[in-house]
């Protein structure tokens, strides 16, 4: 048993070495496939973060009549926080609203002066509501539209921004779906290319396979070395692919950081280095073994 296993592994390693040219070609094609897979995965990570950042920019603000008492607003705030659709509620008191206003218009003397001359604070207190999912604002808005809140609420800006929010939601949905589908298609193409390379490599060995069978080799004795070669192809291709991807991220990451400060790919790679390496190597091995396994099947029927 162990003798046979040893012979199979030794034979696989020898074949890999002696078929140098073919092994190199197969490894390179598999490297391209793995780079494609990992790039698609990373692009999906970037796209998802971009869309999450975009979705977080959508919120709904509720403004209260000037005579509303703070405890009433805080009661509503805690009611909102209990809704399962709501991620976060932020209270901005009239004083804070004035501060923000002043800061925002620090350079506009006319505005600041006119505020001062008013003597009273004209800005309304508000609650900024962030939903867990940007499609849930309609539910939150309908909660706020209940009769019991009508006399304290002066306006809800969801109604004004509804069109924009809906459009943004649509764009996010389409991007997520099409990104996913495009990724799947590209990944499948990469798989087909690698799979067919292995098939051609095994096609070139079809006579050898027949000879082995005619000399009395069992299916496993013939298949084994090809599987060992498949594993080797996968591991080496994974190493090559990482050697391209890591410097690639090092080069592109900072550029991406310039216009999308929320997305730090280098940190992402740093945090997920081992799992990425593991999944990529596993992907390579599975790709190599699966392709060899399927490709060799029809030549074993001797």
């Amino acid at each position: 048993m162990f003798t046979t296993l040893g012979r199979i592994i030794k034979s696989g390693l020898l074949n890999f070495w002696r078929n140098g040219w073919l092994s190199t070609a197969t490894v390179l094609i598999m490297t391209v496939a793995l780079i494609t897979w990992t790039s698609i995965f990373l692009l999906n990570v970037v796209l998802t973060s971009v869309l999450d950042v975009l979705a977080e920019k959508v919120d709904v603000s509720v403004y209260f009549n000037l005579d509303t008492k703070e405890p009433d607003i805080l009661t509503l705030k805690s009611k909102l926080e209990n809704l399962k659709e709501v991620a976060n509620v932020e209270y901005v008191s009239t004083d804070q609203a004035l501060e923000i206003f002043k800061n925002r218009h620090a350079n506009d003397d006319v505005l600041l002066k006119s505020i001062k001359e008013l003597n009273i604070n004209p800005l309304e207190a508000s609650l900024n509501i962030l939903a867990k999912d940007s499609t849930q604002y309609a539910t939150i808005a309908s909660f706020l539209n209940q009769d019991q809140f009508k006399n304290i609420i002066s306006k809800i800006n969801y109604t004004e921004n509804k069109v924009v929010i809906d459009r943004l939601n649509n764009i996010i949905r389409v991007l997520r779906e099409s990104g996913f589908v495009a990724g799947l298609i590209l990944a499948f193409i990469a798989f087909l290319v690698a799979f067919n390379t292995v098939r051609l490599a095994i096609y070139s060995s079809r006579e050898e396979i027949t000879v082995m069978k005619l000399v009395g080799a069992s299916n496993w004795f013939v298949r084994g070395p090809f599987i060992v070669e498949g594993v080797l192809h996968g591991i080496i291709a994974s190493a090559f692919s990482f050697m391209v991807i890591i410097p690639g991220i090092g080069f592109l990451g900072p550029k991406l950081l310039n216009f999308l400060p929320e997305i730090n790919l280098m940190n992402y790679i740093g945090n997920n280095f081992w799992s990425l390496l593991l999944f990529q190597t596993l992907g390579g091995i599975i790709l190599g073994v699966f392709s060899s396994w399927v490709a060799i099947r029809k030549y074993l029927k001797v």
Binding site: R18, N19, T210, L214, V215
Partner: protein
Amino acid sequence: MIRFENISKIYNSHSVALKSVTFEVKPNEFVSVVGRSGAGKSTLLKLLIAEEKPTGGKIFFNKQNILQMQLNQMPFLRRQIGAVFQDFKLLPNKTAYENVAFAMEVAGKSEREIKNDVPKVLDLVGLKDKANNFPRELSGGEKQRVAIARALVHRPSVIVADEPTGNLDPINTWDIIRLLIKINELGTTVILATHDKEIINTLERRVVSLENGTVVRDENPGRYILS
């Protein structure tokens, strides 16, 4: 030992390779199967090592009908039959030594047995010095001797040789034939398919003549007579 019973092989309606062929081979016999190209010699030998399946009939090897064997039993059948082919069929990425050793490895023989037997068999076929050469570095005659060594090394009870001299010059041809005679004298049954008249007439052994897929003559000793 080996019995073909009413064997027919039809590839398609225009190509009938064998028509109800029946004959028997006894232990330690040296049988030549002769006939023109396309007479069905190769097909007959392919059926014996189960490389192909007949359309009808039965083939017995040591009283076992090989057509009823499961696919996973084929390796065991093939390890009892040594096969030699016109185109040598060596493994190109293995040295002469490794090609011969392969036949023992598939049978699960120990490393010690392999290290002991392979050099002896290579010596027998006169290739001791070429053990580490790859097939591409060997001449046609040398390749065929490696193939015979491989067929011989696991001590099969029968060797089938399909036109083993078809690609060789006269000197190498006689080397190979002498080798086969020697193997036969050492107690192994030999079935030789050939269309070489000179070989057959010199051998003076049993001859089974095939014509258009049927046995037209079976004589011991026989001569090469084809109409």
